[in-house]
């Protein structure tokens, strides 16, 4: 049996992705086996709430070309094929711009004299550990000044095991490549938003992404009570439901600022998150029936 992958994304940053993801993981962990992936490798923060004991740290690397300037004939085919302009040619010298390289390997393949081989370049770390309650925890961090989070996210996701019943993926904010790398194969995507014009604008972008990836999704409105009703009005016209609302409340902010998990310091959320999970399962099943 495959693990059920539930991704938590948002569009707008700071809407409460990690609050939702950590609470959902903590609630489900009481009944099922759970693995948690913090895919926001540019600013990981789920460890502040789940407090895992890290037992393994590995380098995250991508393969970049190394040109043997003696064998190189200066034909320029590698420069031509590189979509990302990571290679430039000066006379008969090939110059590499490592931070632009996506590690696709095309340059090596097109070189007619095999003057290019690939060497690993470290761009960050992968960390794994265990939360005391039992959750298996994986996180990555991108080295400061490195521009490309997606290779780390892919390597992080290769640690997902199907023996674990539920996988929670805490996505980066935005609607960029890093988000798509996190959520593209999710069974369900929870979109956390806030009822503000910014929340709505970025939520629309994420709904557009879900149209492309085909995953079913639902919305959690956080800081309910601020802003206006435009998020709900908009969602009424879509097939995407509002699955839960979390009020704008000082008590929540205080608890989170202390690094606590929402469903731990306000226990009523335990049943809310379990209900959320039930609704998610129903929507995944509906989707599968439509697909079949």
């Amino acid at each position: 049996m495959n693990t059920i992958k539930i991704a938590v994304a948002s569009g707008k940053g700071g809407t409460g992705k990690t609050m939702v993801a950590t609470s959902l993981a903590a609630c489900l962990d009481k009944y099922y086996s759970v693995q948690f992936l913090d895919c926001d490798v540019e600013a990981p923060n789920a460890h502040l709430f789940l407090k895992p004991e890290i037992d393994s740290i590995q380098s995250a690397e991508i393969l970049v070309p190394e040109v043997d300037q003696v064998a190189c004939t200066g034909c320029g085919k590698c420069v031509e094929v590189c979509e990302f302009h990571a290679l430039a040619q000066m006379g008969d010298q090939i110059l590499l711009f490592p931070q632009l390289c996506h590690g696709c390997g095309s340059c090596q393949r097109v070189c007619p004299v095999n003057a290019i081989h690939e060497i690993p370049r470290k761009i960050g770390n992968l960390r794994s550990g265990k939360v005391r309650s039992g959750i298996r925890f994986h996180t990555g961090d991108l080295t400061i000044s490195e521009p490309m989070p997606t290779p780390i996210i892919r390597q992080l996701k290769s640690r997902i095991t199907n023996e674990t019943r539920i996988t929670i993926l805490d996505s980066p904010p935005g609607a960029s490549c890093a988000v798509v790398a996190t959520i593209h194969d999710a069974d369900f995507v929870i979109l956390v938003t806030e009822p503000t014009p910014f929340g709505l604008h970025d939520l629309k972008q994420m709904l557009g992404v879900l149209d492309q990836t085909g995953s079913p999704g639902g919305v959690i409105i956080n800081r309910d009570g601020i802003g206006d009703v435009r998020v709900e009005d908009y969602l009424d016209q879509t097939s995407c439901p509002v699955m839960m609302k979390i009020p704008y409340q000082a008590e929540i902010a205080v608890g989170l600022a202390k690094g606590k998990i929402l469903s731990d310091f306000i226990p009523q959320y335990q049943s809310e998150f379990l209900n959320l999970y039930k609704k998610i399962l129903e929507m995944i099943e509906d989707k599968e029936q439509v697909g079949a």
């Binding site: 990302f84 430039a88 010298q93 110059l95």
Partner: protein, 111 residues
């Protein structure tokens, strides 16, 4: 000697473009006979690597010097590796013509 200047438009009266990699045009100016052409910069539409791509183009044109408002780190590395001189103008230069005159009278700063 060929110099290239990042430009917003296609004439010597056009405004210089302060950015290098994503300049819409380059004015290629030959100091030996004052002949010039305007060339569209294809790297404008690149999602990444515009600086390297534009540098490669400047190198292929066999320019001796390139003039812009600023150069990013990748462009700087490529151009200096190729031995192309980088010079800058500021926003007091309102036309390409004035940049060329600035170059001829050595008033432009080296990057």
């Amino acid at each position: 000697m060929i110099i290239m200047i990042s430009s917003k438009g296609e004439t010597l009266q056009s405004q210089p473009n302060l950015r290098f990699g994503r300049a819409p045009f380059f004015i290629e100016y030959n100091l030996s006979d004052d002949a010039w052409t305007a060339q569209r910069n294809e790297a404008v539409k690149e999602s990444s690597g515009a600086g390297v791509s534009t540098s490669q183009y400047i190198i292929n044109q066999q320019a001796s010097a390139v003039i812009s408002g600023n150069f990013g780190p990748n462009a700087q590395r490529a151009l200096s590796y190729a031995g192309i001189k980088m010079l800058t103008f500021d926003d007091t230069y309102k036309t390409i013509q004035s940049v060329i005159e600035g170059f001829k009278s050595n008033r432009l700063e080296e990057f």
